[in-house]
Amino acid sequence: MRDRIEIYDVLLVVTLIGAAWRALFGKDAFSATVFFIVYGLLMAMAWVQLDAIDVALAEACVGAGLTGALLIGAVRQFERAPGARALRRTMGLRASIGALSLLALAGLTASLFEIENRRSPVPPLVERSLGDSGSAHPVTAMLLNFRAFDTWLEIGVLLIASLAAISIHRLYDPSPIEGRASTAPTRPRLQIQSQTQPWIMARTLLPLLILVGGAMLWFGSHAPGGAFQSGALIGAAGILLQIAGGRSALRLSSLRTRSLLSLGFSSFWLMAAGALLAGGRILEYPPASAGAAILALEAAATLSIALTLNVMYACSRPWGPEP
């Protein structure tokens, strides 16, 4: 728990800002995406420096990894779009926007100095009630017990986003577009045959990803880890299959897919209703079985997060699977 700024921090910050600058203002959309992934990974390093290992894992798995996969999957389509490169704004407007951003930057940094020595009453509270929260790790206890309602709504957001992606995919059915073969979008740039290297990579990485995902889920109870990170890892395994295998076997609107998608959300619902029936309040776990309840919720959430991320990846690529 260092509290000094070291040379490594300064180097990390400079490269982080450089990568972000290239990602935001780079000329070519594809290189901007690549630098965006570099920026995401550097951000994960920054989180390690801030002693927030859970967030570093989440940023690396979800922020850089899966957002990067989604962006790479979609960028091929936008490269030829006229706007993708040009910075089309008149000079006066750019100056005023620049002034506004500088104002925001200055105001925010000033507020940092203002609130530098204030402290929050929450950490001591967490320390005291960690005992009967069912998890030895404060962040997992915060996510799954103290603010369990937040996490439930969070998984609701994921569920609604994947339902939206599926309904957009089914309503604006790809078949009529692909029907017009002549104007179908050109073949993806990285032509991936399923028998070559990526398939070998997928085959070797698949067991490792699922193993590490499972371990991450188990670590959640006493060390940095948890449902979101392990869901992202297992989801990454599925996406790797989609990349290497081209067309995935994901049947979007089958009952199996829908029930697995809503597994996390409905398990939270059952836990909330169960707590009510047991006489407590919504999502109030009895201290004795809080650990088991948290693990059950996390396992269910991991499965539906993994499938949700696969569905999102499938729906944001030109070669989406058949509904």
Binding site: G107, L108, S111, E114, I115, R118, R119, S120, P121, V122, L125, V126, S129, N145, F146, R147, A148, F149, D150, L153, E154, G156, V157, L159, I160, A161, L163, A164, I166, S167, I168, R170, L171, Y172, S253, L255, R258, S259, L261, S262, F265, S266, W269, A272, A273, A275, L276, G280, R281, I282, L283, E284, Y285
Partner: protein, 492 residues
Amino acid sequence: MTRDLALTSVLLVPFLGVIGTLLLPERLRRPFSFLVTTLVLAAVGALAVSLRDAFRYEISGWGAPLGIDLHVDGLAVAMLLLTGTVAGAVSAYADGHYRDGSSQKPAAGFWPLFFGLWGSLNALFLVSDLFTMYVCLELMTFSSVALITLAKDAQALRAALTYLMTALTGSLAYLLGVAILYGEMGTLDWTLMSPVPGDDPVAWMALSLMTAGLIMKGALYPLHFWLPGAHAIAPAPVSALLSALVVKAPFFILLRLWVQVWTDAPYASHVLGALGAGAIIWGSFQAIIQERVKLMVAYSTVAQLGYLFLAFPILETAARTADQAARQDAWEGVIYFALSHGVAKASMFLVTGLVVQATKTDDLRSLRGAAAHVPAAVLVWGLAGISLIGLPPSGGFIAKWQLLTSAIRFGLWPYAAVILFGGLLASGYVFRVLWYAFLAPDGSSAPKARVPAVMVLAALFLGTVIVLMGIRTADVFAVLKAGSPFPTVGAP
């Protein structure tokens, strides 16, 4: 005890609706959604009846700074009542709208998103944690965006994308404000941070960021560009939900912040008031010149939201006067306006949907002779118009009367003038539609399709609610008294 049961079922049952309509087979979906709708309406009614005073409910048993609390007071229950009424009517309407075979695919997508939206709104109105409000806002935005894209049209995709990008930027600004507040106050619960010192610059920056974000999401005048496109292109039941409820959620959070947390904001609230006045004039003018009925109603939403933002300067000066009765009147007037506008706007969009279903286009000229073909629809349009203009038998009249008297009582003459002028402008577009509707139907208009009865019933139900709100106002005001920020000592 029934109070807690009602409260928990208001939160849990809509989410059960999401899971059920997602997993149940086709034929079970309609009865199940009907059951869930009635259950939630019953729960909201029970909560409203059993509400004596504001109370708190700790979710998962931990206290406020650590866990998340529900703060149930008159304002929250009033908004729950509005959400319940509008969602109930919209669910009946949607049942008819999606019954014919052609739109089978969107029907499957509509119901889980509808209950997701309803659940997120219920949670947002009840919860007292600013970050949980952020997650509810996101859940609400994603459901609304997905509902807009059900219109199966490239225009709907464009409108949904503009709405999504604007709403996301707005919610990030709001999140940054919450982050600064947490950094400074050490808690995320607005009831714990209530008396914010007026001279603290960091708190002011947090408030301005949150307000900027919520104004973008609530489509106040200069940042409303995404609303007309999205609300006009969406299917009728969806635009009713969007205009009546979704734009009210950011206003609800602003009301909490400006009236109950930042108590003394003398000059800043007049900025909101000025933007509100601009919205009324500009929005009403735009609505009058529109050729498509749906766009007209969407611009009317932009205008009527202006009235809501007039509330901030009025309530600000109210907070400083000693006269308790005047303060409570202003408070009740503002909330009653939100309720009456919600019901009136929802019924207007449902009526527009009926007309579009009958005449297949929503162009104003195709309305010729609509009174002959769908008389009930035109009747409900008239009632909603009365409420928007503020004529006696409707809820809108009571609300505008309270706002007007408060504005005059506190000497805010410009706002009083704008309130009156807005009513005049509103009559402009309301009567324009009525004028076309009552014209003799010329032979050229296309043969009119038959409209399912349940859709007309839904519109009529909202019409009666408008009139009831004009007559039996005492009940709603009694609910509003619970936990109001301007308690009137001794009043029942």
